[in-house]
Amino acid sequence: MGEGTRPSSPWEGCVTGIEVVSSSYHQTPPFPLSKYEKTYIQAALRELSPIRADGRSLFDYRSTALETGVASLANGSARVNIGKTAGEESGSGAEVIAAVKLEVEDVLEGEGVDGGRIVFTVSCSPAAYPHLSSTALDDLSYDTTIILNQCLSHPSLHPKNLTISPRRKSWSLNLDIMVLSDSGNVYDALFLAARSALWDAKVPKTRSVQYQPKSNILGDQDVEMSADGSGSIFNTREVAKAADFELADWWDEGEPLRVNREWPVCVTLNLVPAKSLLMYFADVTPHEEASMPLRLLLLFSFSPSGTRLRSMRLMGDGEVQLESMTLLLEGGENHAKKLFEALGKKLEEEDLRRNQKAQVKFDLR
């Protein structure tokens, strides 16, 4: 169904690659598109050998740039840009910054949950959507936040090391994503950035400390304080039990967040309205997105124990035949796998690059 030429790796030529692409197609089109332009774009895709405006094949991802460690004040961060081409004259792609910040929460008194919790927030910068009013922008931010939260809230995806003291204090992980510019395919960028920021995040090592007051005036009464602060049955008085923690090393960033293997990768499949055939493609530009709003978001996670479909969401106006779903899922899985492998390699490369940078800097001193 129109796979065309072998799809190139999304990371091919990233950042250093130079592509000559008409820059107007990187810009958000003034909405709405005229009917004629929509049919023009759709008709080109329905050809025997589908044609896209920038010459890509149906599953040719634009070159994607990924950088971790962009926000130095955050516990982990990443910046993803799909479609940014090197060179001064072309537009920038869909750019997204994600940052992880850890906050201490009290399980007993505050909002904390034993085992920690993750909260995703997406905010869309007005520079990314210049044609939207501020209320519409807020709505869009809210909708995107909901989608992200719903797709990624399953307990099996939860990182394991967010507890400080069991049942007392835990880390609350706030993943804030900011959309800086949107030129199509922003959901893929959001999920990529989320995964990369979580990969990059480091949880500070903590050590439980217990405040033990001096023995009380009643003499030899044993004040039993167990490690989890539950106290002894011999306590007849309210004794101050301060269960607290301290940072083990204040210069060390901490240990990595244990979440890596299972975290899913998102693939957006855009469906072409066609009477009998099923046609779909990926990595849209704004014009394509405006003319074909129906799309399917698929989140796959790949692990040694198998592939799992984590989440699925059909968005936009239109309908899909039930029989087509299997084809879509298979196709989506293939592309997601490639994306997952490429992302894994890139993240490892980023780790190396940053460790190297730190070492080089140190040597220079």
Partner: protein
């Protein structure tokens, strides 16, 4: 725990290794962001700010248009990860709105709005990282973005912060210094020397004011040189891209030589 960090030690060095009157490293990146007419990512040391300018274009809300000039609309967003502790500021937070209106007041006299009646100039500022001097960075970024967008300005607007640490003036303060020391921000239009912004939220002795004010204003002139060089560089690249046809040896592009020689 280490003892309190000294703002200015006996050797004349500050907490980040700078001297008293030394400004932080400036990084100006004028590459295009999204579909903005002009955009810039500016860093003063660790403070990073991005500004995008759209316009002059048709106003989104007719009620906001002015019959004889363009309406300037400034929106500032602080990224939740920009500060040490995460803080999510809503768009209608009083401090944020106040911040935006300060910047707007700074640019009212500088932008030639009379040339574009009934239209709107939108300036969107994203504060990505905060380490002191945020207002200064936002103003400088706005100037650069406006220049990159080709909007006629009367002059650059360059802003610098300055503070006084027990009779010693300091320039371009970091968060650590801002929390400790009375400071002010001045925005100056270098060609005429006119001041479009002077703001101070802490208490400063009136005898100290004159000195720090003069210093900050002259620092603004120094910044002006850097900003001008960055804009010239960018324009040079664009002009080179425009003149695609190869030139004969010795033949000069008249557009290039005419404009580039002006300093």
């Amino acid at each position: 725990m280490a003892s309190r960090v000294e703002i200015l030690n006996d050797g004349g060095f500050r907490s980040d290794g700078r001297k008293q009157y030394e400004l932080r490293d400036i990084v100006i990146d004028l590459s295009q962001q999204g579909s903005a007419d002009g955009s810039v990512v500016l860093s003063h040391g660790l403070t990073q700010v991005s500004a995008s300018v759209f316009g002059p274009r048709e106003a989104k809300m007719r009620s906001q248009t002015l019959h004889d000039r363009a309406n300037i609309n400034i929106e500032v967003t602080f990224a939740p990860f920009s500060m040490g502790e995460r803080r999510k500021r809503s768009r209608n937070d009083k401090r944020v709105l106040d911040f935006a209106s300060t910047i707007k007041a700074t640019f009212e006299p500088a932008i030639q709005t009379k040339l574009y009646p009934r239209s709107q100039i939108d300036i969107y500022i994203n504060v990505l990282q905060q380490d002191g001097g945020v207002l200064q960075a936002c103003i400088n970024a706005t100037t650069l973005a406006l220049a990159a967008a080709g909007i006629p300005l009367l002059d650059f607007v360059c802003a610098v912060t300055g503070g006084v640490q027990s009779a010693s003036p300091l320039l371009d303060l970091t968060t650590l210094e801002e929390n400790d020391v009375p400071h002010l921000t001045v925005a100056v239009m270098p060609r005429t020397g006119n001041i479009t912004l002077l703001t101070m939220e802490t208490r400063l002795h009136v005898d100290r004011f004159e000195e720090i004010f003069q210093l900050v204003t002259s620092a603004g002139h120094v910044l002006h040189k850097e900003m001008k060089a960055a804009i010239k560089d960018r324009t040079r690249t664009l002009v080179a891209a425009m003149s695609v046809a190869p030139k004969a040896v010795g033949e000069k592009d008249p557009l290039y030589s005419e404009r580039m020689d002006d300093s």
